[in-house]
C-alpha cells in the first residue's frame, strides 16, 4: 500500500513499537478518570482535532481556568506532562515534515496549514523532535507526490501574486471556508463554494487561486486525519468499528462536491467527534463496504422509553487521508 493512508497506517505500527507508547496509553486512560486526576482535565482536554495539545493547552492555562471558572484542573505529575509533550511533539514533527514541500512553494501558507496552528500560542510552543524512520519517509514521499501538491505546483506560476498575500489572509481564506463547510453539515455544502467548484478549471487568476486554496484545505484535512490516526495509535489498540453488530439504522449515505458522508444510528458506543473509525455497512450491493471515516457529529439521546441512541455523522476518508477529497477531485492537474 503506497497511498498516504496506507503509509500512515505503517507509521502507526512504528508507534505501537515505540518504547513510550504503553506509558502514553496508560497515562491517557488515567487522564479520563477524575478519581485519579482529581479534576476535569480528561473531559475538557479531549477535544476534537487537538489530540495531546488539547490536554496541554488546558493544563498550561489551568491557573486562569481555576480562577475564572468552576472547572477544576489539578497539578499533574511531571511524567504525565513529559509524555503529553512527547506525543504532541511527535505528531507536530510529522506535520512539519509533511508540509515541507509547501515551504518551498507557498512559504506564507506553510505554518497556517498545520492543524495545530490555530491552537498554538506562546504558552503552547513545542519544539520538533527527530523521529525519522523508513515508514515516515514513505509517508512524506507519498504526501509530496499527492494530487493537491501537484495542482499547487503546476499553478503557482500562473498565480505569482499568491506569494505576496499575507499569511493571515491565506489563513482567513482557508479557515473561513473550513468553518462554513462544517456549519453546512454533512449533507449540504455552501452554495458559493459549489459555484467556485464549477469554474475551478478556468484559466483566470481567480480560479487558479481558488484551486490552490481548495488544495490547501484538502492538505489541512489530510493532516487532521493523519494526526488523529497517529494519536489513536498512541491511545488505543483497536480502531472503533461501526458495523452490523452496532448499527441499527442508516440515516444518510451520500456524496457532494466536498465529500462522501454517512450518518448512522448506533445504540451502545459513544464516539467523540474527530475520531477516525471504520464504518462497515452490511449491504452486499455497496461497491466498497468498509470505509475509514472521520466522525464529525454525534447526537446522543438517552431515554427510558427508547434506550440510548447515538446518531453518528462521519465523512469518508480517501486514500490521501482527506475527509474533503472531492474538493480536489474535479481540479485538473493542468
Amino acid at each position: 500500500m503506497s497511498t498516504i493512508l496506507g503509509n500512515t497506517f505503517k507509521l502507526t505500527k512504528d508507534i505501537e513499537h515505540n518504547p513510550k507508547r504503553d506509558s502514553i496509553k496508560l497515562m491517557l486512560s488515567e487522564l479520563l478518570r477524575s478519581d485519579i486526576t482529581g479534576g476535569e482535565i480528561g473531559y475538557h482536554g479531549s477535544q476534537m482535532y487537538r489530540q495531546f495539545l488539547g490536554y496541554l493547552r488546558i493544563y498550561n492555562d489551568r491557573d486562569r481556568i481555576n480562577r475564572e471558572s468552576f472547572i477544576k484542573i489539578n497539578e499533574l505529575p511531571s511524567e504525565t506532562i513529559d509524555l503529553l509533550t512527547f506525543g504532541h511533539q511527535y505528531i507536530k514533527s510529522v506535520n512539519s515534515l509533511l508540509l515541507m514541500p509547501l515551504l518551498e512553494m507557498i512559504p506564507n501558507a506553510y505554518k497556517i496549514i498545520d492543524p495545530y496552528w490555530i491552537y498554538e500560542n506562546h504558552k503552547n510552543k513545542y519544539a520538533e523532535i527527530d523521529i525519522s524512520s523508513p515508514s515516515l519517509n514513505a509517508l512524506v514521499e507519498s504526501f509530496r507526490l499527492s494530487k493537491p501538491f501537484q495542482i499547487i505546483k503546476n499553478r503557482l506560476n500562473y498565480a505569482p501574486q499568491l506569494k505576496d498575500i499575507k499569511e493571515q489572509d491565506i489563513a482567513n481564506a482557508v479557515y473561513s471556508i473550513i468553518e462554513r463547510i462544517k456549519k453546512s453539515g454533512l449533507k449540504h455544502c455552501p452554495d458559493d463554494l459549489f459555484e467556485t467548484s464549477l469554474k475551478i478549471n478556468n484559466p483566470n487568476p481567480e480560479s487558479i487561486v481558488s484551486a490552490i486554496i481548495l488544495c490547501l484545505i484538502n492538505i489541512h484535512s489530510s493532516l487532521q486525519v493523519i494526526d488523529q490516526l497517529l494519536y489513536q495509535a498512541f491511545s488505543s489498540d483497536k480502531m472503533i468499528s461501526l458495523d452490523e453488530n452496532n448499527i441499527y439504522n442508516v440515516l444518510h449515505m451520500g456524496s457532494n462536491f466536498i465529500s462522501e458522508s454517512i450518518e448512522v444510528c448506533s445504540c451502545e458506543l459513544v464516539h467523540i467527534p474527530g475520531v477516525v473509525i471504520v464504518i462497515d455497512l452490511p449491504f452486499d450491493k455497496l461497491p466498497q463496504k468498509k470505509k475509514f471515516c472521520m466522525v464529525e457529529q454525534v447526537q446522543m439521546k438517552f431515554s427510558q422509553e427508547y434506550g440510548n441512541e447515538f446518531i453518528v455523522g462521519a465523512r469518508c476518508i480517501d486514500d490521501c487521508a482527506s475527509s474533503y477529497p472531492n474538493l480536489v477531485n474535479n481540479i485538473k492537474l493542468l
Binding site: 452554495d191 445504540c267 451502545e268 427510558q304 427508547y306 434506550g307
Partner: protein, 345 residues
C-alpha cells in the same frame, strides 16, 4: 407481516386453503401431473376442513381427536404441495405416557420416536428448521410455546413461565425498535436464551421500564405472532442440559396429538377431566383447541404461500410514533430547509 382485513378470518383462511381441493389449482401450484398425488392432496385438504368444521361443533369429549385428524390431513396435504411428492407416513412418530402420581394434564409426557416414517419427523422436516428435539416433552412444555396462551398458561401453572415473551413494536419517524416490559419478565433478560436472538438483534439495553431491542440491519425478523398481531420472542428450553424449542406448527401438532390420544385411549381420565376439571386446566385446554382451530390453518396457508398473512380486525402490540415530531426534529427540518434555500431565506 401482510395484514388482511377479515370479518371472519377462519372462513377466509379456509376459502384460500380449499382452492387446493380442486385438482387444477394443485397442478397449477405444484406442476404435478400425477393424478393420484393431486387427488391425495385435494382429498387431504377437504378432509382436514371437514374435521376442523366438525370439531368446532362437538364438545371437549371428542374435539381433540377430530382436531388432530384435521391437523394430520392438513399437514399431509400441505407437505405434499410443498415437497411436490406424497409423504410416506407409517405412524404418528410419537406416543404418550401418563404419570401415575401427577394428575395434571400438563404433566402427561409425549415421547418422540426416532422413526423416520413417523408423522412428527416428516412434518417437522417440512415445516420447521430444527432437527434437534428431546425425546420427551410434557404437554405443559408444548403449550408454553403458543404465544396466544401466555396469560392463561401462567395463570394456570403458577410459577411456571411461558416460553413466549411479548414484544412491543415501536415505529418512529426515522427508525423502529422492539421493547419488552420488565414486568413481563420473570427473571433477568440476560439469563434468558432467545431463539436466534444474536442473528436478529444488537445487544439489548435495559432501562427502568423496558428491555430495548434494536434489529440488526438486513437481519430477518425473529419471533412469532399471536392471532391478535402481538409479536413474541421464543425462549429456548433447557431440558436435561440441552437446548430445544418448538415452532408453532409442530407445537400445535404435538399438543393435538397428546390430547387426542388422551381422549381416544384414556376415556376415563379424559372424561373425568372434562367433567370435573380437578386440575384447573380445562380453560387452558379449551383455549388451546380454539387457538389451534384458528391458527393452524393460517400457519399452514402461510407455509404454502411463502407469505406471512395475518387475518385480523385490528392489530395490537404496535405503537406507531412515526408521525410524531419532537422540537428537535422540527428544528432540524427548518435548518435543512434554510440550508437548501427552499424557504427563500
Amino acid at each position: 407481516m401482510d395484514l388482511r382485513y377479515s370479518e371472519n378470518p377462519t372462513n377466509d383462511i379456509w376459502k384460500k386453503l380449499l382452492k387446493y381441493s380442486f385438482g387444477s389449482n394443485v397442478r397449477k401450484a405444484t406442476g404435478l401431473t400425477d393424478e393420484s398425488i393431486v387427488d391425495a392432496i385435494s382429498g387431504s385438504i377437504v378432509q382436514a376442513h371437514e374435521y376442523f368444521a366438525t370439531a368446532s361443533r362437538v364438545t371437549l369429549n371428542t374435539s381433540p381427536l377430530l382436531m388432530y385428524y384435521g391437523c394430520v390431513n392438513l399437514l399431509y396435504g400441505a407437505a405434499s404441495i410443498l415437497t411436490k411428492e406424497i409423504s410416506q407416513i407409517k405412524n404418528h412418530g410419537a406416543s404418550i405416557s401418563i404419570p401415575t402420581i401427577d394428575n395434571s394434564i400438563g404433566s402427561v409426557e409425549v415421547y418422540l420416536s426416532s422413526s423416520l416414517e413417523g408423522a412428527f419427523k416428516i412434518f417437522n422436516k417440512v415445516f420447521s428448521n430444527d432437527n434437534h428435539f428431546p425425546k420427551q416433552w410434557k404437554i405443559r412444555d408444548i403449550l408454553s410455546y403458543i404465544p396466544d396462551l401466555k396469560n392463561e398458561f401462567e395463570d394456570c401453572y403458577s410459577g411456571i413461565t411461558s416460553n413466549c415473551i411479548p414484544v412491543e413494536k415501536v415505529k418512529r419517524k426515522n427508525d423502529k425498535l422492539d421493547r419488552i416490559k420488565l414486568t413481563d419478565l420473570k427473571c433477568e433478560f440476560q439469563n434468558i436464551t432467545i431463539v436466534d436472538f444474536n442473528k436478529a438483534y444488537l445487544n439489548s439495553q435495559r432501562t427502568n421500564e423496558y428491555i430495548i431491542l434494536r434489529e440488526k440491519l438486513n437481519a430477518n425478523e425473529i419471533g412469532v405472532y399471536s392471532i391478535s398481531g402481538q409479536k413474541n420472542l421464543v425462549v429456548i428450553s433447557n431440558i436435561n442440559g440441552k437446548e430445544y424449542y418448538l415452532g408453532q406448527i409442530m407445537a400445535i401438532f404435538l399438543g393435538l396429538f397428546a390430547l387426542s390420544v388422551l381422549s381416544r385411549y384414556h376415556p376415563a381420565k379424559w372424561y373425568h377431566f372434562v367433567q370435573k376439571d380437578d386440575t384447573g386446566e380445562k380453560g387452558l385446554i379449551e383455549d388451546f383447541l380454539l387457538i389451534a382451530q384458528r391458527k393452524l390453518p393460517n400457519l399452514v396457508l402461510n407455509a404454502i404461500l411463502g407469505k406471512d398473512l395475518q387475518f385480523v380486525y385490528n392489530t395490537i402490540g404496535t405503537t406507531d410514533l412515526s408521525k410524531d415530531y419532537d422540537p428537535e426534529d422540527v428544528k432540524k427540518i427548518v435548518l435543512d430547509e434554510i440550508r437548501t434555500g427552499r424557504m427563500g431565506i
